[in-house]
Subunit: 322 residues, 6 copies
């Protein structure tokens, strides 16, 4: 069926239970505290491009363990005075690519900080390695399944911490008005946006399109598409690690982070999404604690509202950052 998960009617009554470890807040408090022992040390280096209306800076900053993370900062060339800034997170297995990829927010008049994903880069090229000095146990071939044996070693602890620190980077730039920061993204980028919004106070807006990283247990049963299939494939083989796996992943479940959001949040849910099934993305919406807006795309696949998503994003940002 085209509707492969829940229908719009079923989603209306849908009330999924969250799995949250007792030390969730402590885990993240310690994680961020440990990361912040490293000086953020943001470096902004102008980059020459063929763009006339946008100023581009190569960005480097310290993420988890002080690892140096790359990004792009794009500023509307004609702007003056502190600008709102959109921190943009990127999809699965993608890196920051080229500056030409990220023109929406500057065209809308905002500064944009695009945050590279450590270790990723097959679908959009990346420039940030993922050092992993003390892993534990074997792994699957995928980011979701790297070191599931211990949440302190898991890949997403590193990536999510990078994402949090990126907001600090944005606030550190003189052209940015630190009181008007939005976090945005689609798919993995959407999951990271929700996560950061649960961990960082005082954000002005959150946009998550068809977010990944939500409700892993349900996802692994509701779809056999990548990347959630990494979990399925891993547990098919590692049959004795099922509960441990979901225990570890619960620290990195954007549904749990969404339950801590306070900023205005837009979540979009395409009902024919077989990559991030609506029963998982809708769980994030249901538990989102901030003022929230839902956009359902009844016929959308993982691309959601396609060309319309850009306008939706721009208008939501204009409303909350303008």
């Amino acid at each position: 069926m085209a509707i492969i998960d829940l229908t719009e009617a079923q989603l209306a009554d849908y009330d999924p239970v969250r799995e949250e470890p007792a030390d969730f807040d402590a885990f993240w408090r310690e994680t961020l505290a440990e990361a912040r022992k490293h000086d953020l040390d943001p470096v902004f280096t102008p980059v020459s491009t063929a763009l006339a209306t946008v100023q581009v800076h190569d960005v480097t900053f310290s993420g988890w363990a002080g690892d140096r993370i790359k990004g792009w900062l794009l500023l509307p060339a004609a702007a003056s005075g502190p600008l709102p800034c959109v921190v943009e997170y990127i999809g699965y297995n993608c890196g920051r690519a080229t500056p030409y990829q990220w023109l929406l927010a500057p065209a809308a008049g905002f500064a944009t900080l695009v945050v590279d994903n450590r270790g990723q880069g097959s679908y959009l090229p990346g420039d940030t390695p993922d050092p992993n000095p003390e892993p534990r146990g074997g792994s699957g071939n995928g980011y979701l399944t790297r070191d599931l044996g211990d949440p302190r070693r898991h890949y997403y602890r590193r990536l999510m911490t990078d994402a949090v620190r990126a907001v600090e980077v944005a606030r550190a730039h003189p052209a940015v008005d630190g009181s008007r920061i939005a976090v945005t993204g689609g798919s993995q980028g959407g999951g990271l946006a929700l996560t950061v919004a649960g961990l960082v106070p005082d954000l002005a807006a959150v946009v998550a399109h068809a977010p990944f990283l939500c409700y892993y247990r349900r996802a692994s049963q509701a779809t056999d598409a990548h990347p959630y299939f990494e979990i399925t494939r891993y547990l098919r083989t590692n049959t004795d690690r099922i509960e441990q796996t979901f225990q570890t992943l619960s620290y990195f479940d954007a549904v749990n982070h969404a339950a801590r959001i306070t900023a205005p949040t837009l979540i979009s849910v395409p009902l024919m999404d077989d990559v991030c099934p609506p029963s998982t993305t809708m769980a994030a919406y249901r538990h989102c604690a901030g003022p929230k807006r839902l956009k359902v795309w009844p016929y959308g696949d993982h691309s959601g509202g396609e060309t319309h998503s850009a306008g939706l994003t721009a208008e939501f940002l204009a409303e909350h950052l303008g």
Copy 2:
């Protein structure tokens, strides 16, 4: 194999023969003369968007048979004085979508005219109908196979004429410097750009990424992917119309148009493209008569150089329009 058509080595020696009808130039001279009997009547209507650095205008003009064709004109908000203009053609079964889709050229400092595809719009939404008052014979379900019985009735006669007139629209706007017009596009948009460049003199630059609409006979044997498969499917059934079909299509073969180009032209050819096989796109390059530049993507599929294509385009345009 990942290389499903010709290898880079085979393409080096590749010298395909063109199939050109004797009255090719007459056909197009008459076609354009007939179309120009209708007043171009370009209408530019400002549109409100969430974009700060780009001014957007809804565009309407007369294409083939005076049919009213839609488009977007995007102007860099901060610019003054006549600007170079990029006329952008769009891929197969796509329409002009929203203005948010077309931010590259304005960010590069150029005016941009985005031209809707009549009758198309399943992958990006469109707003232009395709009236077809006097068709001849049955048809396949696809634009390539609409009225193959007579080149004067064929769908691409109408679409390509719209594309030619779009250059006149760009030149009619006061913010545009008519001596600095580029035509660009990928896939069907690339085929249209080559076509227009063969029919319109005095263009400043041409960019065609992985162009569709090239060397139909070879294409129908070299791939079973859509949309060229429309031809295969049509001829599988209409077994007595093979030569008539290629006779009709030869008027709309961008390879023949490329042989008439005089402007500087960039053509990109991904070697693992199964939608527009390299033996067809390379044919356009081989026969291109203007000063030309080839960009081969050895591992590219139909998306070509992906994120890198935008930079390549922007730099080529800066060089020739700047």
Copy 3:
């Protein structure tokens, strides 16, 4: 699962709601009145074939807007006196093909009028163009999605009107007994048969195998197979046209036409049909207002009962036309 839609048990209790516009009857009354302003002008021209027991005539008549529609009339060579006639409608993207395709009804002793589908012809070749002088709005690449913006412009208004007039053509031929006309078809042909049976009184029998054109809203959610997928693909992009689309399609929903049928009707429903899901074809049966017979094929896919369908049809026709 092999059963991808409803099971036989679920179908037993199935009672779907119809979506019918208030002006449904008026719309069709006006449509047919407008079409009948054009003289039917049926032309029957003998055709030479290698068939010995069947006389073949090429047929031309005026359908919607007076457009000339093609067909075949096959008569049992040995028959004398007015014959019952089977009006046969054809599947999606198929045309009338060759006379050799349509030998069942003449072998059963009936005249047969095979009605070409305007504009179609990739899977069986066709000979009838689809003039479309005043379309409105962009379209998808498919017959279902041609001009969804206004029911008066939609493709199926034209095709269904042709189908109605074909009954008048059959009745106009001297070898045909106009009181014994059956309408038959499978898939799109089945949908057309139901439609005509709802619009034309005094038919003797109706046969619809796995009918297409039924309950579009459900269909677009119940399958991702073509051709219903055309709707899904169109609405995925044209996100703001969902209600308008189903509003337009409701005039062409064979379920609504079935609710007006008075003739004896046979509908077959294969339970493993992923092209025309049983929840849509069964809706036509549930609402069919005539004396009706249901044939369920528990293991049938869209081909239904395969070789058995021919015998089923022939026997039902013999019973009602004989």
Copy 4:
């Protein structure tokens, strides 16, 4: 590529070598002599159908080992005097189905004997079992791979002998003119037609569309589609039986039989056939020893010329049986 085997140009120069065992003729002479020890004992039983212009008889006769083989005999109802007869063989994994399936030849004015395939019947239902009292060695799951260890035990020895005897059945019926017998079929039916034509003298015509059972060695390397894939799958596992397999199959290679044909023969070759690759069907044409006609379908898949094949067949039969 759409052309997955040889191109039309390559086929023009194509001269494949046959693999023929030294005792090929002796093998078949003994096989048929052994079969003919059993009385043919044809039984024709009238069957009631809804067909008016065709008289149908259920047929039973003794094939290999005296096993009773089923068939249909269809006679044009209005005919008198001895008629030419078309012996029709059926495709892979199909049985004789219902009489409604076989209306072309009677409509063309010929008697038709449709010959059931022993043991087959998943795609069209069959009524003939395949007793196999003394097989040798393990087998694959398919007719091609049943008892490859010894040509005397192989499935196709039985089926091909049935096919030869069917001609004798046709000649035994009083309504049939035994001097005007054609053998026809597509796919497996085409391979059987070629085989019978090589084994039975005095036939009037042979028609083989996209024949299966040709040039097994090449076929197993040229396609991974079923049913030739049965060989590949079998030899993938039974790695030490490669030469034995092709030795056994050489007795049943329709290319070897074609080299013995004397009757006028029509062979059709679709160039995009991935089931029976053109390099295998063309081998049958190249070696066909009778007066021969080739029909190439440049865009045809295994369905060949689709609706056009029926007319082609009817006209060829009319020319040679008329």
Copy 5:
């Protein structure tokens, strides 16, 4: 969905009804009595291999109708005294292959008798033909659909009888302790193990991983994967044989055999098995009458617990045979 059949929660309440013919026990009593009229005549011939710790014997014995069935007997080389013996049945379309394939049980210290599948051998090579002297009616191309018209002719009557007699063979060897026999297998081998355990008293243990041959009616609706799809394909064509088919198959339904088991039984059920859906394998567990153990693999596909299944089997056998 990854879960394509029932969820773990649904399976908890699952209570499927068995379809058992009234003469089930009589049928099998007569079948085995008839088979036992033939002398078992087991022949054990030493085979030279590169194995040092295992003695291998080629085995031949009389199965159904006295047909000679092949097998391997593997004995731990260092063992002395009567040993427990594991009778191993093999998966669908597989034969006994080479002795190297069957090293688990000997490594665990048990004798092993591996039983060839008559007529099978495309995925693992086999050496046992399937004589079938008096079949009835046409067949599909598959073991499940060979002679469904009469349970006395059906393929699985022969195969299951061979399997029963194999236990007698094991007990006939002097190195084997006949009071400690286990029957084991996966997929078809698992279905055979359950069947034999229902027909043979005094077994010491039964292991069935993801058993095939269970609950055919449900299976044919719950999956479209092979080999159950053979039933679907057969009934799609043979539309009038649905009840006859399931009537015949009910004699060979391992669920009915499981209801007669008395030995300790381990059944494993992978929840993402699309070959043998959990609703069918779980039916065998629910009705299993012996002391039973269930192992659910929540993320398992038809391979079940993969590498873990071997250990599970070895430990269960050690517990019950040790």
Copy 6:
């Protein structure tokens, strides 16, 4: 085509050029020297299993950078005196799994050391993490594409070094006769066996079935199957890193290592292998410098000779280790 790469005839003349960096030997000399600064420190811990004829030891030793690598040592329980030892390497994305997985070599009378793959484990579970403290640049999601920017950081430098040290581990165990060590494996395990055989002198035998890690440049053009597709996907995006990528991979090309082998070597090449195309595996055979034996499987896919491979391996080992 079933033959998707080179035919047996083409392979007969095939003479591929190796790409070897000038400092290849120096690179590996330094790599191994650096690794050997860490004490090997092999730890053998008895493990209790249900196996009676095999003694199992859990193994831990120091691989690259002193990282602790896991393995299994299996000894035939009945053996005495120093035994030949088979060092077994494992396929892509697999770990050491359970001891039950590795029974062939012990059954043949040899000690076996099974070597875990660091960081892998989705298809067979693993227990060895892959610390990666100083990566450079972004990466693709796969082992082949982890840190392609510098051969000293690349994943396979670490894995191949582990593999070399495993031979030292085998030689360190008192039950092993260090002069009779074989290295074996299939796919990635085969590539590792060739690599180790090129780096370690005095081995007694080498077996590589369908080896992976050979001739990367050709592989990335000859197949679009995983895992070589990782390279294609990576270079599709990272268009400017093509030469750097193959420069890095040339240090880890088993073809270059094969050119340094001195021990007797068996390489098997399945001609229908789309995972490791024959043009790549045959390159390893062509350049293998030791006494060598080729086994071609004409119909083999990546599984090669399937059940026959085990016997082939056992016999080759018996010949050279016996």
